[in-house]
Structures are given as C-alpha cells and as structure tokens.
Symmetry: D2
Subunit: 305 residues, 4 copies
C-alpha cells in the first residue's frame, strides 16, 4: 500500500475551480468557511467580473492565472471533477504542494470528497488531519531531429494516434534499451496507474492500482491477433519512434490536453517524473468507483463493505 504522509494544519489554501455556476458557488462557500477559520485564500483561473468581486468581498485574493501561486500555498483544492484535479496537478506537483479534490459531479477516481462532504475535507485540512499519498507521474519528451522539441509531465497518459483519417501507424518501441515490438496499430497508449482507468481501460488495458509504480503500454486497435498490454517498471525508459506511414499522420497527446502533430522519425521518450503528485486520496478504492461508474464486478456477486 501507499505510504501516507501527514499534512500539517494548513494556513494558506489555493482554490482552483472549474467553470460554471456550481463550481463558483462551491468556491464562494469554501472561501467563506476558510476565512472564518483564519486561512488565507487565493482563487485562480477565474475571469474578472461580478464573481471575482464577490469572492474578494469574502476575503479571497483572486488571480487570473495559476503560475507560480502553488509555491506559496500549503494545499491546492480543486473544485470540479477528475479533469479539474488533473489540470491543477500539472503545476501543483511541480511545486510539491498536495492537492485535494472536491467533486461536484459523479464519483471520481481522484477526488477525495463529494460536494456535500467538502466542508469535512476543509476541516480536516485546517486541523492537520489530512494526508497525501504519492502518485506516479510521467515525463514525456518529444525528440525531433536529435533535439528536444517538447517536454511535459503527465498524470494520466500520453498516446500517439492517427489524425482525422484512420491509418495503421508503425511505432517502433523499446523498453529499458531493449527492442519490444513495432506496433502496427491505430495508436499506442502509455499510462500511469492513475491513467489506467482512463483511455487505457477503453483500449482493453489492465487496471493498475494507484500505489503501483509501473507504466502500462497498450496498443489501440492493433492489426494483430495479439492484443496483449505490457506492464513495465516505472524505472524503465520507454522510447517510441514514429516510423510512418506519412508525415503528419499522427498526433502525440499528453493528458488529453497537449496535442502535437508528429513528423517521421520523431521519438517519444517516457520515464517517471522526478516528483510524484501529492494526492489526498479518496477514502473509497478505485474498485468502488469502477463498480459505481462501470459495473465492475457485476455478476461477480455484490458483497459490500
């Protein structure tokens, strides 16, 4: 199991809401509650306007961008779903600040509390009763013509996939310096354990428990009778070379957010990011979320605990 690291009582919180009225209201409530408990509050990623004004009246500092804010905080609170938390994680993890998710929709894999329990979460933070667990992230480097063309970290996955026209890509793949296979497929996914329940699940990959330190390599619709996903130690360098069929016929997508067109011979090099995400984990397991969202263990009998 993951080691849990206690978080000292927090004094400075950064709120990161997603768009929309529900998230705004949750942000307003959180601000009010935190200020009443003498916690300094910053809110980022909000456009100016009446909403920003209302938050300021409650004592929040409202900042349009999140750059460099995490460093001065004890905790980032993402208000939204798994997607909002993932976006916050990209800069929070770099800054080494733990992230707590308050879920405003369906059960999430990453968010620790549902909306109606949000105050319980904030109280735990203020009383020094929260803990974080490390979650493996990946570093993705796109090398073009012998140079680094792009370098990003990802919490979930990186995948190479054809563009508008379905094509069988040719993707030569090495693991730990050894040749593994040249995939002929619609694409190839490399994911962290967190990302194993995202696109990897749809492509037929295994579920990887969040505390594992392994990457999963799963082809997307390989033209092959052998569909088998491969799980490798996170310390193994993964190198994928785009061998065709055509210039610009494939895209590299990182955490579903950055997308780059590939040139022939481009190399995508993946290894573990030096800093893990510091996640305040849900109390329920990934399997309970799977059961609720995707019918995991339907027909397997319904013991509940």
């Amino acid at each position: 199991m993951s080691k849990r690291v206690p978080i000292p009582a927090v004094r400075r919180v950064l709120l990161y809401p997603r768009d929309g009225a529900r998230a705004f209201e949750a942000t307003l409530n959180a601000t009010r509650w935190l200020r009443e408990h003498a916690v300094a509050v910053k809110v980022c990623a909000l456009t100016e306007g009446a909403g920003a004004e209302a938050l300021r009246r409650e004592g929040a500092e409202v900042v349009p961008h999140c750059d460099g804010l995490a460093e001065d905080c004890d905790l980032v609170v993402a208000l939204g779903g798994d997607g909002t938390l993932l976006r916050a994680s990209r800069w929070a993890a770099e800054a080494g600040v733990p992230v707590l998710g308050i879920n405003l929709g369906d059960l999430g894999f990453l968010t620790a509390y549902q909306a109606e329990q949000g105050e319980i979460g904030l109280a735990a933070a203020v009383h020094g009763e929260l803990a974080w667990e490390p979650r493996l992230r990946m570093q993705v480097e796109l090398q073009r013509g012998g140079r680094v063309f792009l370098r990003e970290t990802a919490c979930n996955d990186a995948y190479i996939k054809h563009g508008e026209f379905p094509r069988l890509l040719s993707l030569a793949t090495d693991v730990g310096g050894q040749f593994m296979a040249t995939y002929k497929a619609d694409g190839l996914i490399v994911c962290t354990p967190m990302g194993s329940t995202a696109y990897n699940l749809a492509a037929g990959g295994p579920i990887v428990a969040p505390s594992a330190t392994a990457f999963t390599i799963t082809p997307i619709c390989p033209h092959s009778l052998t569909h088998r996903p491969v799980v490798v130690d996170a310390a193994s360098l993964i190198e994928i070379t785009y061998e065709g069929p055509v210039e610009g016929g494939a895209f590299l997508t990182i955490d579903g957010q950055t997308s780059v067109s590939l040139e022939l011979g481009d190399r995508v090099v993946i290894d573990a990011a030096p800093d893990p995400l510091r996640l305040c984990p849900p109390e329920y397991s990934v399997f309970r979320v799977l059961a609720t969202k995707l019918g995991w263990s339907a027909g397997m009998g319904g013991r509940t605990r």
Copy 2:
C-alpha cells in the same frame, strides 16, 4: 531497468539437472569443465547408479537431495528448462544464492544460455563476469480456522481453481485491506512478473516485464462481462477467501507444484517474499522469447535487432 549485481568468480557450484539422458550428459560435461577449472562441484537430485558413479569419477560430489546444499555454494546451475530452474529457485532463493539456467530445450523465459552456449556461461561464472538481477517472488499463506495451514514461496504464481467438476467459485478478494471484488469464476490467478507469461497469459492477463515489482490478479473464466485483470503494487497484501460453493470444490496450486484442497472459509494471503530470486538473466528480452514461442508481434512488422 533491473539493477545488476556482479557475482564474484565462483569456486563452488551446485549442479541441478532435470531427469533424462540429455541433462545427464550436460551435467557430465559441466562437471568435467568446472573441475578442469578448479571449481568444486556438487550434483543434486540424481538417483544413485551408474550415472552417479560416472559423475564421481569426474570429481563431483553426488548428493540425493538438495536440502541445505545451496548455502555452501556460490552458484546454482539448473540444467533443463524453465521448469527445472523454477524448482531450483525455491531453495536457492531462500539461501540467497544466484541461479544460472542452461537450457536443454526451446528458448526459455528464465534460462540464460542455450545448451550449446553452456560453456560460455560457466566460463563467465569462473571469471567473475556473471551478474544477477532480483526477481520478485511471492509468499503464499493458507489460513484455515485462524491458523496458518501452509506457507510457501513461489516464483511464478498461485492460483485457486475448481477441481474435477467445473464450478463457479466464489472468491472474495481484498487488496491492501480494501475490498476489491467477489469473483465468480472458474478460478483466480495471482502471479509475479515472471509468472505473467505462464498461466496468467493463457487466462488473458497482461505481460509484466521481469523487473517490475507488481502482482497481477487475473480471473479464470469469470462469469462476467468484465474480464479485466488488475495489477497491484507488490507491497499490497492480497487476501482471497474461498466462499464456496462446496467444501473441497477448489484447489490452491503454488508454482504448479504444490496443490491443496480448500475448505470453506479458507483464506489465501499473498505478499512479497522477503528475498527475491537472484537470477542470472537471459541476454534476450522476454519479448524475444514471446516472439519465438508465441508469435508476439506477428503482423506488427518484423524489425529485428
């Protein structure tokens, strides 16, 4: 990638051949070669007779059983296939002695050298040019009525499966203290990375690279639309309770060698064994063996290296 640990020049070798004329001849040759290079040789697991006599004439000490012999050796050499090496591993790993496999049949996942290269392997051992890598093993405990009924270590896997009559077993499974699922299936496999290319492969599980430290949990023919295998950190305790349908309707099998009939309520508890197997690894990757034996990457294109 796995860390490699150099093995100092060996002076005492334990040979462990499988049955049959071919293995006997390989053992005779190895004895001769090692004695010429001033290495002390013990041979175990051989019945007395003309063969034992011939080996003694070459200078080997011939011992009927392997118990307690590994401790006094620098290296165990298994002469046979992956199965022979697995059997040797059970006691060699306890003793902390590295194991080198010389393969007398088809390409193996574990054996470092093919028969015709066996002398190269022995020379490397004698000149201090071999290295071992750690391979995760599992500890399997069968608890019955609150007591430990059986405890064994395994290199490949442990599985629970129905006996002569196919039945849908009910297997409640917890991971890291959290409920995962109650499988309704013909059985359930828990395997190490080494074991991922054994029965797990047949049951549809992923391939796990040998250097990973993770267990894979794969159901055998679950009566369910969700066949998804689960990969967990090797530090997570796995607990499986046999809930039925009938007394004696299921067996626990460990590394394909030990088999025990289960009683209702029996708990199988699995975690990482304290000592890894110290394996002198093959030079070729698991993927090359898969390609040769099982057509891995057929239709994926044939880059060779």
Copy 3:
C-alpha cells in the same frame, strides 16, 4: 429476426417442474388454472408422495419419467430457471413440441415469463396467442476407434476440458473439412447462439443473438497470445481430435449434463441438429437480461425502453 410460428390453442399440456417447494406450488397452481380451462395436464419428473397425490386431486396425471410424453402434448411448460428449460428441451425438441418457460428465480435468457406473470402465459397458450421461434441446437457425436461411441443433442454447448489436474490439451480442429488450428489450451467450447451467454461468455467469446444460425468456437485459456474466438456457419461440420497429452486427461461435457472421459484419438464431431428447439421466447431481449444480470452496457449510458 427469427420467424415466429403461431401455436394453436393448446388442449394438452405437460408440466415439467424443477425440484423444491416453490416449483411444486407453481405446478399446483398451474394445474388448477389449466384444469379450470379444460386443458388436460400431465406432470412429469416428480417423485411419488403427498405432492403427487395433491396434483392428482387437482386433476393432473402424474408420471415419474418424461420419456415419450411430449409427443402427446401441445406444449411443454418448464417451471424453474434456464436450467430446467434446457433439460426439458432435450426431449421436447426431439418431439417437435414447443416449450414455454415460467421463471421461478432471477431473470432468465430462455424463460418467457417471470413467476408472477405465469398465468398470463398460460392464458396466451389456451387462447392460441403464443408463438414459438426456432433455436439452433447441435448434434454432438463422439467417435472412438472409428465407431460412434456417443451421440447427443445439445441446446447450449459441448466442451472438452482437462480433468482434475490442469493440463494443456492438444485439440486438432477442422471446420467444414479444412484444418483450422491445433489448440493448446485448458479446453475448447463449441456453442449455439443460446449457449453464447453461458460458458462461452466466461471464456471471452462473443454474444451471439438467438436467431443466428452459427456455432462459436472459443478456446478456454489457450497458452497463446491469440485468444480469438471463431464463429462458423451452422452448416459447417466441426471435428475436434483429442491428441493428448494423456489417456483420460480430458472430458467431453454436453450441456453441462453428460460428461465422458476421452481417450487419445477420440474425435468429437459437431453439426446442427435436424430439429431446432421450438422456444416461446422472452419478450425482453438477451441484452436486457445481460444488463440486469451482468451489467451489460454499464458505462455505456442508460437509455431505457
């Protein structure tokens, strides 16, 4: 879609209950209702005793065995689950008599009515408002030493599987006179569309809609990276030869009811049975049953109709 054949108003009904108090009571009620509507009633498969007496008092003819009874009936009514209906189907299909299932447990794939709607079903039968649809059955012949050793028909499936000790069977398989593959597997399933939701489902086979006239051939845990099931026209002869590994190491099981130990060289020859099962189909589709029992389409969105 299946053609539907109307069933003229029935005058003679054969009731086939499963064991147990609930089925007995349902049989008693059905007898009473049918006698009130001037329908002749036979009840088979019941042991003598107080129950048989009670049924006779209601006007039923009680017969210990079912042999030859179906011929004199207009309709067989199975009272139990899919298993009860399957057992009745074996002799009802030979006799060309339609079968109606009244389900006393969970939703079934084959039973037309749930218990509480049983009277609706009987009324439809009496008023000539029922219809049957043909369901493909298979003929299974075991040939030993050039002779027919066993010949049976099956509604669901026939499978060859290892016995108590898991072994990799070698099963040479021809389809329509052409070699298909020599499976190395725990076993091999051949199923009808009805049987596709039984053991085939657990082994990873596709769902085949009931009106299709095709057999599905699905290996059980093949030691192979290619797990792909094969669907063939029901007019294709399927021939499977048991090539080993050992005498008596495998069993042929037909519809989960007949089981025979195989000898080396035994051939199992399967083709379509001349007469289909005449099934009064459920009003709900196989997909609705899958959704209820096994979470089909969980996470696919929940349109209901």
Copy 4:
C-alpha cells in the same frame, strides 16, 4: 459450408488491375493468354497512354471507367490484392458477375490465386472449371432528417468513428427492432464475415468464417469494462443513431472508401444486400491466411496439411 456454383466456360473477361508496373505487366500477360484462347478481353480503370496502347495491340478493349461493363462479361478478374478485389466487387456484385482475384502481393483473404498461379486460374475459367461461392454483403443507408441521404453496399464493413479529435461518441443501437445498447466509444464497427478479418480484428472482434450469414457489431475502444462483440443474424436490421457529443464530430466510413461527416440524429441503417458477392474463393482457408499474416495459432502447435 458454402454452396459452390459452377461457372460455365467464360468467353468474355473484364480485367481490373490496380495501379503500378507489376499489375500492368500481369494485365498484359493475362490479355495475351486470354486472346490466345479466343476470349474477349476488356481492361478498365487504366489511364490512357503507352500502356493502353500496348494492351490494345494485344487485342484488349481498353476502357477508362468500369461503369456498366460488368453486365456484358462472364467474369471479372481483379489483379492486385484484397483491396483491388474489394473495389471491383462493388460493381461486379451488383451486376451478378463472379470475381476472381489474382494476387500480386502477400497472401490475401479474398484472392484465389497468387501471381505465379494466375494462368492456372485463367485456364480453369476458360475450361469451365471455376466455381463461385456467395459472400454476404451489407447495404448501408444513412438517414438524415427522415430522408435517405446516402445508400451504398459494402463487402467488408461500415464504421462510425470520431474525427480528428478523439471523442467518446454516443451511439444508440437497435437490432431487429429491439434496443441493444447505447455505446459510449471511439466508434462502432458493423462487419460482414469477409470484413471480420479487417478492422473488426483490430478492435478485438471474433473471426467469422466466410460462409456464415451474420453481421458482427464491435465497439472501438468503449469506455466500459464490457468489450464484448455481438454477432447477429444477417436478417436482423441494425440501426445506429448518432446522439453526440457534437455536430460533425463523427464520420461514417463504408468499406474504407466512402466517408461522410455525421450530423446529430443521423441514423445508419444496415441490412443484408439483396445480392451476395460471387467470389471465386481461395483454395486455402481464412485460417491459413491468418497463420501466415498474423501468427494465428502460434504456440498452438504446428500441424500442417
């Protein structure tokens, strides 16, 4: 097995080569051979130029387009691979003319002869020794706003898939007038038995023997734990409604050749085409092609016949 229909000795042949020097040379040779045997030869799909001139000198009638030509022929000969044969099949099947494939590349699933055996094929045609077998085709209708927007026949498959940006499509699917599922997936494939070894194979669908009359419905990367493909009787109408997420976010592709952007609410309706493809089948089975191209039965043992 498929019924085989003898083809009377052919007197008029239409040659349909793919592009390129190799196909041109094969066409020239076939023309020469056929003219020597007093067979009338038309060649279509060739651009004018030196090649067309050379063919005319050998006695061929060279026509730029294939429209309406098949009606006047006894046999269409496709010179290329499976793709060339598929293209020829679209108009040859409408005209009820059998198609013979001469393969200029790797082994094909549809082509009857390899290049070096082409003359054997032509001789069989001239001597009345060829036969054709029916192969199921599908009719695909795109309905928009209550009207037929597009209607095409396909030999292999029709699939709906997201465009440039991966999105989870919502595809409500009915079979035979009954609701089956609303797929949330990258896309959905419906294929004929011929098409089962094309994109369906990559998406994890079963292999369907060519003589079966069934459609297979296979989701592409469903966000679901239940990946199970469904096989339905070819007499069942399949209706798929594109429910989102966005206007223009999906494409319908037919036989990999026609591609149309979908609007919200578009319905794709698929049933069996009235006329099958009349295919001169390969002598080797689909399984031998799979073994050669994709390693089918690797690790299953290598019986050859």
